[in-house]
Symmetry: C2
Subunit: 235 residues, 2 copies
Amino acid sequence: MTPTSTRPKSTLSVELNELLKSAEHFMTIKKGTFLFQEGMTAKELYIVRSGRVKINKLSSDGRELSLRICTKDEIVGELTLFSEDAKYLFNAVVVESGVVAVINKEELERKLFENSKLALEFMKWMSDHFRKTQTKFRDLVLYGKKGALYSTLVRMTNSYGRKTEDGILIDLPLTNQELANFCATTRESVNRMLNDLRAKGILSISKSKITIHDLNYIRSEINCEGCSAVFCSIE
Amino acid sequence: MTPTSTRPKSTLSVELNELLKSAEHFMTIKKGTFLFQEGMTAKELYIVRSGRVKINKLSSDGRELSLRICTKDEIVGELTLFSEDAKYLFNAVVVESGVVAVINKEELERKLFENSKLALEFMKWMSDHFRKTQTKFRDLVLYGKKGALYSTLVRMTNSYGRKTEDGILIDLPLTNQELANFCATTRESVNRMLNDLRAKGILSISKSKITIHDLNYIRSEINCEGCSAVFCSIE
DNA sequence: ATCGGAATGTGATGTACATCACAACCAAAA
DNA sequence: TTTTGGTTGTGATGTACATCACATTCCGAT
């Protein structure tokens, strides 16, 4: 698993990472379990150290909207900070076993108060994170389901893409259904759209992993040529 | 204009407001002009003191997606903080003349660094703001166009609603087109949906202002009975 | 190798919503 | 008052996408 990602990632700065570390204890997480569920009162947030955590939201009629897939060094549960008696807005389900660092909310708030540098970096992280989310929803809302899928593919590529001879491999097995959950659409629609792209030679799929041959085509379809890829990720 | 809003608002705390004030100069803004436009390099952010500023985004084919309408004490342009060489993601167009306080980005960052209390409160504001946006997009994506409209109505009510004898008046003239822009839909669809609601006695319209007679009906349709209204606003 | 469950693929049909077209209704200006 | 430009209202039609139904492929467990 060489770090041959095609684009720079906006991760936690070293300092932020180090400082957060000092306040934490660790917890192993097992595939299929929840880190937290929507509506639970939030007392802590988490930093993924290994494994994968998916953030999602269930609609009243049982459909799932996936929002993020978080791997190493991603912060989870951040939305509840600074509001007393906050409830988690989303679910965090472990999709690959691993370890998270547990950070007590109040303790973090105290640390942020005491350490201006930490506070500033944390604000920067929040701000970046906010921008990512905003642009993602914009694609979803402005460019229909195709926009949603293409946006998801671009983000997946930026987060998990690894250069190969014939394109960029999204190094994460994905079913049609899982992609559909990110797009608020159905597996059938995703299937048809992917087959169209396949027919055009834009991408190919093998062993439920997607290889993108022509990322620019996808990016141009949703007018994201100009956007800085740093904000365009799935984490 | 008595402050008979039906629900508590999450505005800037007094301290935050005061501290921000010290760094600012004022600028009058005229209806129809832009505070900033998408893609411009961002050097400052703004606090609305009077008048109204609409935040929107134009799609490549000319459709408009409205995101916020900001009045007194709302922060505008906040998304560009902490990222050097940031470009504005959206447009800010003045829809009602007034005055804004101008805050230099670098100066604010310095102030936040020097004053932990300010930093903490600012983070709280960002976090609240983030939650609002997330929940709004969720309605938009999960519950279709009807969900988008109902969500917009609830938010408008929370932000501009004033109790009257026969319901809650949204004290802001709104055309079908303007509502449509908030929902990423067409004026015709909005018109039909509003007429349905009118026929059911849920709301009524006069002089392009909406009065909601049965807010609970609308809220129940998009499953937001449980949500705290503080986060459910249009600002 | 073979069985069974999950994932994929693809037609037929339904439905929500956009688009088009145009009539009716204002309210402010001439 | 009449004109005019913006807004509302509403049918007819088109299109994107969801839903349903079922066949096929894939893959791990026995």
